[in-house]
């Protein structure tokens, strides 16, 4: 146990800011997951691998001398079509089956993607340098890499655009209608097949944006996708489906929670504490549900 947080108060500020910036990025990935989970009832285990693939797109742009920040525009476009392709090849065959089948299918896609990326891009850990510099606050006691601020800003921008798109556009309304009741939507003339494909594509595009941002702020590696899947799963579980402010809040909450776990329990318990939190929340939800059931009885 470490109580540095209390000895050096500035660490608390640093941890909160780091956590929020990180959390916003998690929330973007989680939003994609919540969207397709809500619409198609599919838990996408390959979410993290789509993120990493997006990261590689930005990395290759960087290799060819283009600033990796352009990756946040190029990666989602490419990833949208990757998403549509995955939908047409695999997901449309499992979309109305039970959850277990879809988990298995996406788990398979995840393994396939990891191996393909390893085969195509090699097993080296890579990163793209943005050369964005650093912001110093509070007499140089709190440091925020500008790349993290940039990634949080872009995440928010994309999330807001998507919300507006969902509210205003025809496709957005169709997606929301399908999420509420696929059968009714179909009867009323919504082409649900098209909606499903678009939803999966949008999710993949969001992963692409997040991946490009991760290649700028952290590192990417073909086998690094799973932690992102787990975190987004956790955020969606906490927030519930179709609850966008909830996703944003729980994303930031998770980021801050992770940072504090890191300082107080030690870095080795960082991911462990995320899992512990997940278990606690699931137990709490069950407890609440059972009380509700008793009340109904």
């Amino acid at each position: 146990m470490d109580f540095l947080v209390f000895q050096y108060p500035m660490i608390t500020v640093q941890a909160c800011l780091d956590g929020i910036l990180l959390g916003v990025l998690f929330a973007l990935i989680a939003y994609g997951m919540a969207l397709q989970w809500g619409v198609m009832n599919i838990i996408n285990i390959a979410q993290g691998d789509l993120v990493i693939l997006g990261g590689y797109i930005a990395y290759f742009m960087y290799l060819y001398g283009i600033h990796p920040a352009w990756g946040v525009i190029v990666a989602p476009i490419i990833m949208y079509f990757v998403g549509i392709a995955i939908y047409k090849l695999v997901i449309n065959k499992v979309v109305d089956r039970d959850l277990f089948i879809s988990i298995l299918a996406t788990f398979g896609i995840s393994i396939l993607f990891m191996q393909l990326m390893n085969f195509a891009f090699g097993a080296d850990v890579v990163l793209a340098n943005s050369h964005y510099g650093t912001t110093m606050l509070f007499d140089n006691n709190v440091v925020l890499p500008n790349s993290k601020i940039f990634s949080a800003f872009i995440s928010i921008l994309f999330a807001v655009c998507l919300v507006i798109y969902m509210k205003k556009s025809k496709l957005g309304r169709a997606i929301r209608a399908t999420a509420q009741n696929a059968r009714a939507a179909k009867i009323l003339g919504v082409d649900t097949e098209k909606v499903y494909a678009a939803t999966f594509g949008i999710n993949a595009a969001l992963c692409g944006v997040a991946g490009a941002l991760i290649s700028i702020t952290f590192t990417i590696h073909p086998y690094m996708g799973l932690p992102y899947t787990i975190r987004s799963f956790m955020i969606v579980i906490v927030a519930g489906l179709g609850n966008l402010p909830g996703v944003a809040m729980s994303g930031m909450g998770l980021g801050v929670f992770e940072e504090f776990a890191d300082y107080i329990l030690g870095t080795e318990f960082r991911i462990g504490s995320v899992f512990l939190l997940l278990v606690l929340i699931l137990v709490y939800r069950r407890f609440k549900l059972s009380r509700k059931r008793e009340y109904l009885k």
Binding site: L4, Y8, M10, I11, Q14, A15, D18, L22, Q115, N118, F119, G122, A123, D124, V125, V126, L127, N129, T134, M136, V143, P145, S147, I214, F218, T219, H221, P222, Y223, M224, L226, P227, E259, D262, Y263, G266, T267, E268, R270, I271
Partner: protein
């Protein structure tokens, strides 16, 4: 039905054909000494697996073209059977079984990484197959009493203790304050044990002792602590991921620390990926091309590096150099044993005392090489941003003077 029968007989014919042809692969066929190796050609270790394979191939070609191996008045040549272990310990152990019991291999070369060597060693030990390995440095490999395992490299606990010694020396012999962050895997934890030993020996104090998770890509928390507590030395070991993450975040967060020591800078292509930000980092290395060890086959480090680059198109990392050295050791042992008897070869290996371009090689009873110190190089960049690794410690091998303390970020 009929078709099924045809397919069945075809398959069984193939199986019989293969089993007979495989059985004829004995240890020594004609004038060939056949060695076996399971190497990570795919999976997460594939880049270092390829470095290892290139090192092996380079040495095989060189030894064969320079007269081969003379045993019992006859000249033999090396040949290697490779299998891909997919970076998976279970698969590596299976492949070792297969190499020994099906392919009849009687001498083995090691895989890449401590974890995979650990998986293979019990198998080679069971069959009494001598294995010379070049890429498993974990201390636990050498404390199990293995009789047939020989490692040409220095054990993991010696990787960074030179750094602590140097820091104490530069501090006028007074103890230093150490911050350390290590990944939780066998290798990095062994490096950590080495630091703990060095700290105890010099009376130094460890003020931050973080364990990094395997899925590490953010060590901001550790660095914030470093910023607040201002240690004299920061030690990081977490494979390539650890090295890349550390440099990125140290530069972004402008963490000033007088000495930064790491492992895996070579493999991470640190100076290529980070350019000037990686400047002044100290890196532990098993080998560096500027060292002046010599042998008859590769002459010296510089010649080896030039030949390697000509053949494979890149500067050899130490993983390739040590792999090449493993074959020189085998050749030497075969000639001294003057026999292909596994026991005799094993005894000859145990009595090895030679110099190769890679360094002196002499095995302790546990199988580790005790005659080759680790070197530390420092990343040094010129104004144009071109970076080079220069050996700075131990002093005997130094080709440049250590820059200490590392200049503050505000002055760079």
């Amino acid at each position: 039905m009929k078709l099924n029968k045809i397919i069945l007989s075809f398959v069984s014919a193939l199986v019989i054909l293969f089993s007979t042809s495989v059985a004829s692969f004995a240890k020594v066929v004609g004038d060939k000494i056949i060695l076996g190796a399971a190497i990570s050609l795919t999976g997460k270790y594939s880049s270092n697996g390829v470095h290892t394979q290139n090192g092996y191939n380079m040495a095989v070609d060189r030894i064969n073209s320079m007269g081969g191996i003379k045993v019992g008045g006859k000249t033999y040549k090396f040949d290697i059977i490779y299998y891909d272990d997919e970076s998976n310990p279970k698969r590596a152990a299976q492949l070792a079984e297969r190499l020994i019991s099906q392919d009849g291999v009687e001498f083995m070369l090691g895989p890449y990484s401590s974890g995979l060597t650990k998986a293979i060693a019990p198998v080679t030990e069971k069959y009494g197959v001598p294995m010379v390995e070049a890429n498993g440095a974990s201390r636990s490999l050498f404390t199990k009493g293995y009789k047939y395992l020989f490692a040409v490299l220095a054990p993991a606990n010696l990787y960074l203790d030179v750094a602590i010694e140097t820091a104490v020396e530069l501090n006028g012999g007074k103890p230093v304050r150490i911050a350390q962050a290590f990944e939780q895997d066998a290798f990095s934890q062994d490096v950590r044990l080495g630091i703990l030993d060095a700290a105890e020996r010099t009376g130094s104090k460890i003020i931050i002792d973080d364990k990094l998770p395997k899925e590490l890509n953010d060590m901001a928390a550790t660095l914030v602590k470093v910023k607040q507590m201002k240690p004299d030395v920061l030690v990081v070991s977490g494979h390539t991921k650890g090295a890349l993450t550390a440099i990125r975040q140290i530069a972004e967060m402008k963490v000033d620390v007088p000495m930064l020591a790491m492992t895996h800078c070579d493999a991470a292509k640190l100076s290529k990926q980070h350019g000037k930000n990686s400047q002044y980092a100290l890196c532990a290395s098993q080998w560096h091309k500027s060292l002046t060890y010599k042998d008859d086959f590769f002459k010296d480090g510089m010649t080896y590096a030039a030949d390697f680059e000509k053949e494979f198109g890149y500067d050899p990392p130490y993983q390739s150099a040590e792999s090449s050295a493993a074959l020189l050791v085998f050749k030497d042992a075969f000639e001294r044993a003057n026999s292909f008897d596994q026991k005799k070869v094993r005894d000859a290996l145990a009595a090895t005392n030679m110099q190769t371009f890679y360094g002196n090689i002499k095995f302790a009873p546990g199988g580790q090489n005790v005659d080759k110190p680790m070197v530390l190089f420092q990343v040094m960049c010129d104004d144009a941003g071109k970076c080079e690794n220069k050996v700075v410690a131990p002093l005997k091998w130094a080709s440049a003077k250590l820059i200490h303390p590392v200049p503050k970020w505000s002055e760079r």
